[in-house]
Symmetry: C2
Subunit: 568 residues, 2 copies
C-alpha cells in the first residue's frame, strides 16, 4: 500500500502551503520561544530578524543544548530530504515538549531562477517566509558579494596603480561573484579598452555561495575573528612566488564593514512556529556545507535541542562538519540523524533512477550496503550515535519501509519512518522520541578523522581510506606541487575539505553502493586560508551554474495583488 497523498484533494505546492501559513510575529516568537528581548532583535520586516551579536555574547556562560546533526546516505540526484527532515524533527521535538531550534543554510538565489525552485524545506516541513528566504532575505548574500567584489576591485586597482606588491597577475585566484546562474561569466577577459581601464587579464565569476567569503562568514566566531580571517585570504602570488593576502591590500577592514550586519544570525520559524536560524550557505564541495557557526552557537545557547544539517551524504557533510566546523568552533554533536529513503536504497541496490518508484524489496536490501557504510562511518569513525530517519515518499510501500527499519535495527541502529513532508511535525514524532532516547543514553563521543599535525596528504589518506573505503590517494603533478607550496607557506596544519561527488563513496559518480579499494585522485588543490581549510578537488566542480532552456524565471511573477507566484 502506498500513502495516498493525492486524496481527497491534490497536495498543495510548497509556495501555496507557505503563503497560507500563519506566521507568528518574529518579535513574539523570539520573546516567547527563546527569551530574546526586543532590544536584542534587529527586525527585517515583521517575520524575519537578526539577533544582535553583542547580546548573544552575554549568553556565553549558559550551558549548550544538545546538537543533532542531520546527515544522509549517498543521495540520488533528487536529494533525500535532509532539510525537510531537519525541520520536521525540530517541529516534532517541540511537539513532544522539548525546546527545539533548527539551524539551516540560506538558499542561494541563483538556482531559484534556474531549475530548482526554492530551498527552504518542502510540503509541511518548511521554513517561512518562504519567498523572502529564497530571495534577498536579510541581505547576507548581497553583503558577501560586495565584500568579495570589493577585494577583487582592489586587486585590479593595485595592478592599475603600479603594482607595488609585484603581484603576478597570472596567479590571481580571487574571482568576482554574483548570486545568479550566469554561465557567460565563467570565463571572461577584463581590463579591456585601453590604459584607463586597467590591466587586461583572464578572469571569471563564481556564484556567491562558492566564495571563500561565504565559508569565512560561516566559520567566524566573532567580528574580530571575521576580520582576521578576511585578512588571511590569499588572492595571488608575487612574481617572486610569495603569497599576497587581503591584508597586504588593506582590504580586510572595509570587507568587515560590509559584512558586519551579515554576521548576525537570522531568525525565522517553521510552519509550526519552531524557531529557525537560517544563516550562511557555503557549497558542500569546495567548502564545508554547513550553516554559520554564529547561528549554531546562538541556537545552542537558546534551545535545549538544536537540529542542524550538513550538505550531501555523511561521507562529505558529516565528515566536514566534524573535521572542519566542530574543530574550528568547538562543537560536539550528541547524535547524528542519517536520512535514508527507500528510493535511494533501491538506487544503490542497482535500480535505474527512473524506476525507483516501483516496489522492489530485493533492491532495498541490496542498497543497504550504502547506508550501512554510512552508519559504520558515523559510529565507528566519527564516534557519533546514528539514528536513521526513513523519509517517506508517496511511492514507498509499507513493506519497503518496514524492511529498512528492520535492517537498521539489525545493525543496532534506531530507525523510524517519518512523514513530516505530508504531515508536519506529527509525522516525525517517533523519530524525535528516538533521538531523545539516543541522546539520553549518551554514547556519542565525537572524534576527528585526523589530527591537525598530520601532513595534508596524510589527512587526505585518512579520509579516503577510513571514510570512503578507498585504498589510496593519488595527486596529479600540479596538485602535488600546490600541496607542497601550501605546506611550505605554513598552512599544513589546516584541515582538508574534500570536493568529491556526493553520488558515490568513490570519485566516480556511477559507482553505487559501497565501493572499496578505489583510488581517490586529487587533480587540484586550493588554499582557503581565511576559511581555514585546504580544498582537495577530485572531479569537475561547477562554481557557476547556468540557466536551463526554460528557466524558472519565465514562470516567476507577481499577481495582481502583488503576491509572488511560480516559485515552487
Amino acid at each position: 500500500m502506498t500513502i495516498d497523498v493525492d486524496a481527497p484533494v491534490p497536495f498543495p505546492s510548497d509556495i501555496e502551503i507557505a503563503e497560507s501559513a500563519d506566521i507568528t510575529p518574529v518579535a513574539d516568537l523570539a520573546r516567547d520561544a527563546l527569551g530574546i528581548p526586543a532590544a536584542a532583535l534587529v527586525p527585517y520586516g515583521h517575520t524575519k530578524a537578526k539577533v544582535s551579536i553583542p547580546w548573544l555574547t552575554t549568553l556565553e556562560d549558559r550551558p549548550d543544548g544538545h546538537l543533532v546533526l542531520v546527515t544522509a546516505m549517498s543521495p540520488t540526484p533528487a536529494g533525500e530530504g535532509k532539510t525537510t527532515t531537519s525541520v520536521g524533527l525540530a517541529d516534532a521535538l517541540r511537539r513532544i515538549g522539548e525546546n527545539s531550534v533548527v539551524a539551516l543554510r540560506e538558499p542561494s538565489m541563483g538556482p531559484v531562477f534556474g531549475i530548482k525552485g526554492g530551498a527552504a524545506g518542502g510540503g509541511y516541513a518548511q521554513v517561512v517566509p518562504m519567498v523572502d528566504i529564497n530571495l534577498a532575505f536579510t541581505g547576507d548574500f548581497a553583503a558577501i558579494a560586495a565584500a568579495n567584489n570589493l577585494l577583487a576591485a582592489m586587486i585590479d586597482n593595485h595592478l592599475h596603480h603600479g603594482n607595488a606588491l609585484d603581484i603576478d597577475a597570472r596567479t590571481i585566484t580571487w574571482k568576482r561573484v554574483v548570486d545568479l546562474n550566469d554561465r557567460a561569466l565563467r570565463g571572461i577577459v577584463i581590463g579591456l579598452g585601453g590604459l584607463v581601464n586597467g590591466i587586461p587579464r583572464e578572469d571569471g565569476f563564481d556564484i556567491v555561495v562558492a566564495s571563500e567569503v561565504m565559508a569565512i562568514l560561516c566559520l567566524a566566531t566573532s567580528l574580530a575573528d571575521l576580520r582576521r580571517r578576511l585578512g588571511d585570504v590569499v588572492v595571488a602570488h608575487t612574481r617572486t612566488k610569495q603569497p599576497v593576502t587581503a591584508r597586504d591590500l588593506g582590504a580586510e577592514g572595509a570587507m568587515t564593514v560590509l559584512l558586519r550586519d551579515a554576521l548576525a544570525p537570522n531568525l525565522v520559524q517553521t510552519l509550526e512556529h519552531t524557531p529557525a536560524f537560517i544563516h550562511g550557505g557555503p557549497f558542500a564541495n569546495i567548502a564545508h556545507g554547513c550553516n554559520s557557526v554564529m547561528a549554531t552557537r546562538a541556537a545552542l545557547k537558546l534551545g535545549d535541542w538544536v537540529v542542524t544539517e550538513a550538505g550531501f551524504g555523511a561521507d562529505l557533510g558529516a565528515e566536514k562538519f566534524v573535521d572542519i566546523t566542530c574543530r574550528a568552533a568547538g562543537l560536539r554533536p550528541a547524535v547524528a540523524v542519517v536520512v535514508a529513503t527507500v528510493r535511494a536504497l533501491k538506487f544503490h541496490g542497482g535500480v535505474p533512477v527512473g524506476e525507483v518508484d516501483r516496489e522492489d524489496l530485493a533492491a532495498v536490501g541490496a542498497g543497504m550496503t550504502n547506508l550501512r557504510r554510512h552508519l559504520d562511518n558515523v559510529r565507528g569513525v566519527l564516534g557519533l550515535t546514528p539514528v536513521v530517519a526513513v523519509n517517506r515518499f508517496p511511492s514507498d510501500t509499507d513493506a519497503e519501509v518496514d524492511l529498512v527499519v528492520r535492517m537498521c535495527r539489525h545493525e543496532g541502529v534506531r530507525a523510524y519512518p517519518a512523514t513530516h513532508v505530508r504531515d508536519g511535525g506529527v509525522g516525525a514524532e517517533a523519530l524525535a522520541r528516538g533521538v531523545v532516547e539516543a541522546v539520553r543514553e549518551g554514547r556519542s563521543d565525537m572524534r576527528f578523522v585526523y589530527d591537525d599535525h598530520l601532513s595534508l596528504e596524510k589527512k587526505a589518506e585518512a579520509v579516503a581510506t577510513r571514510v570512503y573505503g578507498a585504498s589510496r590517494v593519488a595527486f596529479e603533478p600540479k596538485a602535488r606541487r600546490r600541496l607542497e607550496q601550501i605546506e611550505a607557506e605554513g598552512h599544513g596544519h589546516l584541515p582538508i575539505c574534500m570536493a568529491k561527488t556526493q553520488a558515490s563513496f568513490s570519485t566516480d559518480p556511477s559507482l553505487r553502493g559501497a565501493p572499496s579499494g578505489h583510488t581517490v585522485t586529487v587533480r587540484e588543490v586550493r588554499l582557503a586560508a581565511g576559511a581555514g581549510f585546504v580544498v582537495l578537488v577530485t572531479g569537475e566542480i561547477m562554481t557557476m551554474p547556468g540557466l536551463p532552456r526554460e528557466p524558472a524565471a519565465h514562470r516567476i511573477d507577481v499577481d495582481d495583488d502583488g503576491r509572488v507566484v511560480g516559485l515552487s
Copy 2:
C-alpha cells in the same frame, strides 16, 4: 570676518556627528511625526523602515503638501550643498512649526570606498543612520543589481539555447552592473572557455546607479507600473533590426519579484528628527537624477511641506525634474530653492578653483551671470518661483554674502544666507520663512520646456536654446541615425534626458558664467524605453568609476567595539 567654525574645538567629522546622534526609533517617528501605524511600517532594524505600498495607496484621496524643489547654480567640482540645504531647510521648516518631510536620493556604495566618502548630507545637516544609508541600507541597490543582472543572464542564456528571437549579439546594449567602483569591468569579453560557457561577445559592467532599472524604480508609480516598465526595456535588436524587449525574453515578472520590496520608500530621519525618505538614486546625466516618485508621492501625502533635491545645476536637474519626473508623475513644485555659494560665484566670475576661498567681491559680482541665468530659467522657462539659498562656507566673508543677497533681490528674487551645515536647522530658518512666504504668494505655475508631440530633435532644440542659451543642436551621424530609428520604433513621444556636463551651460566644462550662442553636439543617443526617456549624450559619460591610488577602503574599518570608522 569669516565664520569661525574652528573655535573653540575642531569641527567634528560627519561620521562623528552622525554616530553621536540621538536617533528616534523609526516606529515612534513614523507614528508621531507622520501618523503611520506600526502595521504599515516594514522595519529594517530600529532606525530604518520601508512604508508599505498597500497602505500608501489608501492615502490617495488626501491633498498633497507643498513640493519644494532644491536645485542649484552650476556647481564647482566640490558641489554647492544641495543635499545639506535640503536637510537644513526641512529641519528649519519643522522648527518654524511646519510639518515637513525631506525626500532624497540613496547614495551609491561604490564611491564610498573610492574618494568621496558618504553622501547623506554633512555637518549638522545629515540624515541618519549615516553608515547604513551609505552602505547596504535596505537592500534596494542589491535588488536593482539582481534584477538588472538576471535580465543580462537571460539574454546570454537565450543566445546559448539557440537564439530563437534571432538577436544580433553585437547590438546588445544591456550591461551587467555592480555597486562598486571597478574600472577593470568597463570593457570585458564574456562567454569564453568553450561550448558550455555560452556565446563569446564584448560586454561591460556599469555601476548600479547607471542601470535603467534604477531609473525605472524611481519613476514607477505602482508595482504594476514597475512591471510594465521593466517589460518595455529594449535590450538589443534582431538581425532584421527589430527591437528586443525584456518582455520578449520573459524576464519582467521575475525582475519585478526581485524589486517588489525595493519599490517601497525608505523612511529615516535627519539629525533633528525630521522624517526623511531616502529612496532611489539614478545618475543625473544618463538618467533624471531624482529620488523615487514613490517616495515623493508618499511624502506629499504625509507632510505639508516636502523638500526634494534634483541632481547637478538647474539646467540639468530642475529641467529634468519638470520635464521627466513631473511629467511622468503629475507632480507640481510650489517653489524652487536655488542653492548658490560665494565660492561658485567667484568660480564663474573667473577665479581659479583653488583660489575661491579668498575674498573677491568683483568676482562674486561677475559670477552672478551664471546664477542669473538659472534664476531666469527657473522663473521664465519652468514657471517656478525661485528662492536663493546662499549656502555659507567658512571662508565666505559677510560682505560677499551680503552682495549675493542684494544682487538676487535686485533680480526680484528672495535670497537668504544659510548656515545649516554648522548650525543645523536653526541656520536655515530665514530661508524656511522665505520659502513659506513665496509659496503663500502662489505665483508658481509649472510649465514643461517642450510638449510631448514635438520631435525628439525639436525637444533637444527647445532645451538647448531656452535653457542652455545655445543657438543650435547638432547630431553626429550615428546619433542622428539612432534618433531616427527610435522615432521609427514609436518612441518619439518620450521626453528627452540630456547628458551634459554640470560645470557649464554649454557642453564645454571650461566655459563658465553664462555662455551663449554655442552649439550642443549630440554624439550618442540611447533609448530608455522602460524608464520612459531618450538620452542625448553630449560628452564623455563615465558609467563605471574607478578607485584611486589610495582608496577610502584602506581607511574604512571596524574598531574594537564593532563601530565603523574611517567613513567620512
